[in-house]
């Protein structure tokens, strides 16, 4: 014994084994099926989009953290994939590069990197391109077109700093019946036509690359929740409050407002609730705060969708929730054991 070095450490001497890279890596794994489904639906363009955005995010992260290699924590990879999934599949790649750079540089690195960002970086990137390129980000392409694995959508390779070409003619050539170029939410808003729950669950609708199949996203989220890599309370709060709000509106005017099920399954609510609202750095830590935060996001999503100029409200609802997080945390401090009046 005495010949050997003895280590002095402070208790506790055991650890759960969970680490930041483990959590982040598992989130990445859980998103791979969604990516796969997206590529199967939209073909080469979606693949190029996802790879470009992720590569941009990783490169930006590496570039802005020259002193320490922070790629090992996998958080930049999550931002990249998540951002890619929220963009339209035929989004021009140069715009995707802008989105990825903004997400990491302005959304994250500027604040001090992992854990210090007040807003979800992927959403910061998306909000930027939504404001900068409003047409490109609402140009949708049909899923399951015949040539999706042999040719790119013309908009994908738009020359840098150029606006994408018009693809109406190209879409007609694809021979996809009944493609309207509008998302289910837009069709509801402007034409008062709601998509069927079956289509929304299985992804047979027009949407961003990763927002199509609510069922798949739910399954991937369930994996994360069961492995305890995600706080299950946040998606439950977001989806629950969104459904309740939608239900209340439908009670008031059933002819105009859609069913809660449509609200839950359409647009980006599912991926937003499961992957974006749950971003640990930007969500509250207190048990009560988590429910309030989720509740605000759900309600705001429905209100923006119903009364805002945009068809989709998840992004801004989550950013608003992020902004409120420090305040929520501050006012929902847990009652310390042995204090307070409810127990003697």
């Amino acid at each position: 014994m005495s010949k050997h070095r003895i280590e002095l450490r402070a208790a506790p001497h055991q650890h759960s084994g969970h680490s930041v890279p483990t959590i982040m890596r598992n989130v990445v794994y859980s998103m791979l099926p969604i990516c796969g489904f997206s590529v199967w639906q939209y073909g080469l363009s979606a693949l190029a989009l996802l790879l470009t955005v992720t590569a941009t995010c990783l490169a930006t992260e590496r570039l802005l953290n020259r002193n320490a290699n922070t790629l090992g924590d996998w958080s930049a990879a999550i931002t990249g994939i998540l951002l890619g999934l929220t963009l339209p599949p035929a989004f021009p790649l140069w715009m995707a590069i802008v989105a990825g750079f903004v997400a990491i540089a302005i959304g994250k690195a500027m604040f001090g990197g992992l854990g210090h960002n007040p807003f979800n970086p992927a959403l910061v990137g998306r909000a930027f391109v939504q404001a900068a390129f409003p047409v490109a980000i609402t140009t949708w392409v049909p899923a399951f077109s015949a040539n999706r694995f042999s040719e790119f959508v013309p908009t994908t390779f738009t020359a840098p700093l150029m606006m994408p070409p018009d693809i109406v003619g190209w879409v007609k050539q694809q021979g996809v019946d009944a493609f309207t170029g509008a998302t289910p939410l837009a069709r509801w808003k402007f034409e008062n036509v709601t998509a069927s729950a079956h289509d929304l669950l299985t992804g047979a609708v027009t949407a961003s690359a990763g927002e199509t199949s609510a069922l798949l996203i739910l399954a991937c989220g369930a994996y994360l929740a069961i492995r305890k890599f995600m706080d299950w309370r946040i998606p439950v709060a977001v989806l629950g409050s969104a459904a309740l709000t939608a239900w209340a509106f439908q009670m008031v005017d059933p002819t105009h407002y859609p069913t809660p099920l449509f609200v839950l399954l359409s647009g980006g609510l599912m991926i937003g609730a499961i992957y974006m609202a749950t971003d640990m750095a930007t969500s509250p830590v207190t048990p009560v705060g988590v429910w309030i935060y989720g509740g605000i996001i759900g309600v705001m999503t429905v209100i923006i969708r119903y009364f805002g100029g945009l068809t989709e409200g998840v992004m801004y609802a989550i950013l608003l929730g992020n902004a409120l997080t420090p305040l929520i945390d501050r006012y929902t401090q847990p009652r310390v054991y042995g204090t307070g009046k409810d127990k003697p």
């Binding site: 050997h4 402070a10 208790a11 001497h13 055991q14 650890h15 969500s283 847990p334 054991y337 042995g338």
Partner: protein, 445 residues
């Protein structure tokens, strides 16, 4: 969140489920040999150190008083073996400081029976007189806090004690000595409860045992007194179930008010082994000369529970149980709250419940990531503090804010926050530093 319509095992909120490694729980307690020299520390309890009453060169018999208590809040020390006093010298202790020890060279040919006893007639004593007799036995809290047991049992002025809680939770991983005591010495525990109830005047006693020790529950139930004053309650296996606050909440649904002792809500808590030794030694008038220690860990070849004479140096102890040469970290106590020792010359004292040896496997300290605000620590803290905020504040040395706004003083350093932190931030370690800083600044100003 406790749901009223589920009849669940009583427990507390939050906490963690570490890997328990209770492999030694089925091994019977074995007696440990005497080391050639015993180093008997004078500071084996919280409170004033004992005062040595022997001189170098003097011969002592096992059980003989070798140090007397310094006032009520102190304990005597008895010779753990028959031998000769070789020296009175400072030796390293588990907290890194040198502590005065009485060094006894053990007579090898002696049978080492307990030869000196100080019996009293216990029947006609009042509660307070009984407490003073208890002090002579020298039992300190065996869970690790080493609070003098007699002092704990005397109700403070204005408090009535209605319940004694006997802590058999043993929530620390690896440790099984309390488990074995409950299985093998249930009768002693009942005796100890009887005396403890006489001192503090409590009408009932509840023994709380985690549900991973059902054989201990069976042994205790078989030994319960007929009058129904003592009961055994099974609680959920969860760390830190064995902390005073959490076990009281689990068993009684009461919370100990912040900054106060459990006696303020009428509860006294004792460890099972404390009361087992009290029940065994008090009627005989015998002093504490040994205790049961769990010796385990991946680097120990013959792990188990051993009756170890007080003052046995760890060097001897580890050699006897076959510590592998890979052992780089030796912990006194459990892996969640125990301390690593700076030297293998540290002797066993009354508060050591476990000796664990860990190997090189986990020697590299993990990379510390920034806090990602996952809230795991908030959901683990049994005191419902906010370790996330306190950790961020500690990094900036805002110790006053931690104490004033986030109730740092309520932290009892169970280590759940550091255990769950995916960023490997040393949260409880920082809190300890903060508390130490504030305490010492108070002393100075």
């Amino acid at each position: 969140m406790r749901l009223p319509f589920f009849n669940r095992t009583p427990t507390f909120d939050h906490g963690i489920h570490p890997v328990y490694h209770k492999e030694t729980g089925h091994l019977p307690v074995r007696r440990f040999p005497f080391a050639p020299k015993l180093y008997v520390s004078l500071e084996q309890h919280i409170g004033k150190p004992a005062i040595a009453v022997v001189s170098v060169g003097q011969e002592v018999l096992r059980g003989e008083l070798i140090a007397k208590p310094d006032g009520l809040f102190s304990l005597p020390i008895h010779a753990p073996a028959t031998g000769i006093i070789e020296a009175l010298e400072p030796m390293p202790s588990d907290n890194g400081e040198m502590e005065m020890c009485i060094v006894i060279r053990v007579y090898e040919a002696d049978t080492q029976e307990v030869q000196v006893r100080y019996p009293h007639d216990l029947e006609n004593l009042s509660g307070r007189e009984l407490a003073l007799v208890m002090q002579e036995v020298g039992v300190a809290g065996k869970g690790g806090a080493t609070f003098p047991t007699h002092a704990k049992l005397i109700p403070p002025n204005g408090c009535t004690i209605d319940t004694i809680i006997v802590n058999g939770a043993e929530c620390e991983p690896f440790l099984t000595c309390d488990h074995r005591v409950m299985v093998e010495r249930a009768q002693d525990i009942m005796e100890g409860i009887k005396y403890a109830r006489r001192v503090c005047g409590a009408p009932r006693a509840i023994i709380g045992v985690e549900d991973n020790k059902m054989d201990a529950v069976a042994a205790l139930e078989a030994a319960l007194p007929a009058d129904g004053s003592v009961s055994v309650k099974v609680v959920e296996t969860k760390y830190p179930q064995g902390a005073a606050e959490t076990l009281i909440t689990a068993l009684l649904g009461r919370e100990v008010p912040a900054g106060k002792r459990s006696s303020s809500i009428g509860v006294v808590m004792n460890n099972v082994m404390t009361l087992a030794y009290m029940g065994r030694l008090l009627p005989l008038g015998e002093g504490m000369t040994e205790r049961i220690v769990t010796i385990a860990g991946p680097s120990v070849e013959r792990p188990g529970n051993y009756i170890v004479p007080l003052g046995t140096p760890l060097r001897f102890l580890l050699e006897y149980v076959g510590a592998r040469s890979s052992a780089t970290e030796v912990i006194l106590g459990g892996p969640m709250m125990g301390t690593t020792i700076p030297s293998v010359d540290v002797p066993i004292t009354k508060g050591v419940c476990g000796v664990l040896a860990f190997g090189k496997k986990d020697a590299t300290p993990p990379h510390i990531y920034p806090c990602i605000h996952c809230g795991e620590c908030v959901n683990a803290c049994p005191k419902k503090l906010n370790p996330t905020q306190m950790g961020l504040l500690a990094a900036k040395r805002e110790y006053d804010v931690m104490a004033e706004q986030f109730m740092l003083g309520e932290c009892f350093e169970c280590g759940c926050c550091s255990y769950v932190c995916p960023s490997h931030i040393p949260l409880v370690q920082q809190f300890r530093v903060a508390k130490y800083f504030l305490k010492n600044r108070e002393k100075v100003t």
